[in-house]
């Protein structure tokens, strides 16, 4: 039977349908997970999708990190389950302490929706093995609070350990430190990414299908595991 990828829905989550579609395109089974449940329904990997969880009025991800389902995600992640946080999901993983740093208001102070070139800096994480090292991919970016920040020592550490997964190329759209678009945890299992690979799985509805590689990669990872 095909691997099961959980897709979390918080009130205010928006890109859950897209994340589920991406999982299906990769021929995994997409399993809906509800914010209020203390249950990951036996999934092999989890996607925390984009959106505005609980409105994100306080701080992006600030309230979502306390959701019952997140307690389970944090435990599972510690045990090595692959977790991908996209956009709001990335913000939530940072707030929850699964990933270092934080995401702040874009330097330009506007929401930015554009097709963004990214360089795959680490093709060794659970979510990026299908890419060539240094491959450049084009996927949508759409966020108002996508400026990645962390203190200098953290940034140095991330760079030194190769934990910057993707970097913006062809211009920094939001003022992120070191053009960082995505980072991973020490084991390369938990990945947070500001742009939206799930919106680049089919040239009909996205700029390219460059994003599909992330969902195919995780299948390899869970099958191996």
């Amino acid at each position: 039977m095909s691997p099961r990828i959980g897709v979390i829905t918080f009130p205010g989550t928006l890109d859950d349908v897209d994340a589920a579609r991406a999982a299906r395109y990769a021929e995994a089974e997409a399993v809906p997970l509800w914010h209020a449940d203390h249950d990951l329904r036996g999934v092999d990997a989890v996607i925390v999708p984009g959106g505005f969880s609980y409105g994100d009025y306080l701080r992006c991800g600030a309230i979502a990190k306390f959701a019952p389902v997140m307690t389970e995600v944090i435990d599972a992640a510690k045990k090595g389950m692959p977790v991908l946080g996209i956009c709001n999901g990335f913000q939530i993983l940072c707030e929850a302490g699964l990933l270092p740093g934080a995401l702040l208001r874009n330097a330009g102070l506007h929401f930015v929706c554009r097709d963004q070139w990214l360089k795959v800096e680490n093709a060794g994480t659970a979510w990026t093995t299908r890419y060539e090292p240094d491959a450049e991919i084009l996927v949508p970016l759409k966020s108002g609070e996508g400026r990645y920040v962390a203190d200098q020592s953290t940034v140095d550490e991330l760079e030194a350990e190769g934990r910057v997964v993707m970097r913006y190329v062809g211009g920094n759209p939001n003022g992120s430190r070191n053009d960082i678009a995505g980072v991973t945890d020490a084991r390369g299992r938990v990945v947070g990414l500001m742009p939206h690979p799930e919106h680049a799985i089919d040239a009909l509805t996205g700029p390219t299908d460059d994003g599909l590689g992330m969902f195919l990669s995780v299948l390899d990872a869970v099958v191996k595991a």
Partner: protein, 79 residues
């Protein structure tokens, strides 16, 4: 040099989705006894002593506050 603080809060009768979101979250996080939360903005300005209260009020009113939906207070704090 003086430090000036301008507090900008949503008008009482105006809906405050931010504050409401926090208020709704608290019980879920096991914090009880908070009956209302309002969220506004706090500005900290460093100004020369040449800047008088009239100027500060004008800055607060024209630039920092949307007086249609927000109220503000200005105060100098020793720094």
């Amino acid at each position: 040099m003086a430090r000036v603080v301008v507090d900008v809060m949503p008008k009482q009768e105006i809906l405050d989705p931010q504050g409401q979101a926090v208020a709704n979250a608290l019980p879920r996080l096991g914090f009880d006894g908070v009956s209302s939360v309002r969220q506004g903005k706090r500005f900290e300005l460093e100004v020369d002593d040449s800047v008088d209260d009239a100027a500060l009020a004008k800055i607060a009113e024209t630039l920092l506050t949307n007086t249609v939906i927000e109220d503000f207070t200005v105060r100098r704090v020793e720094s």
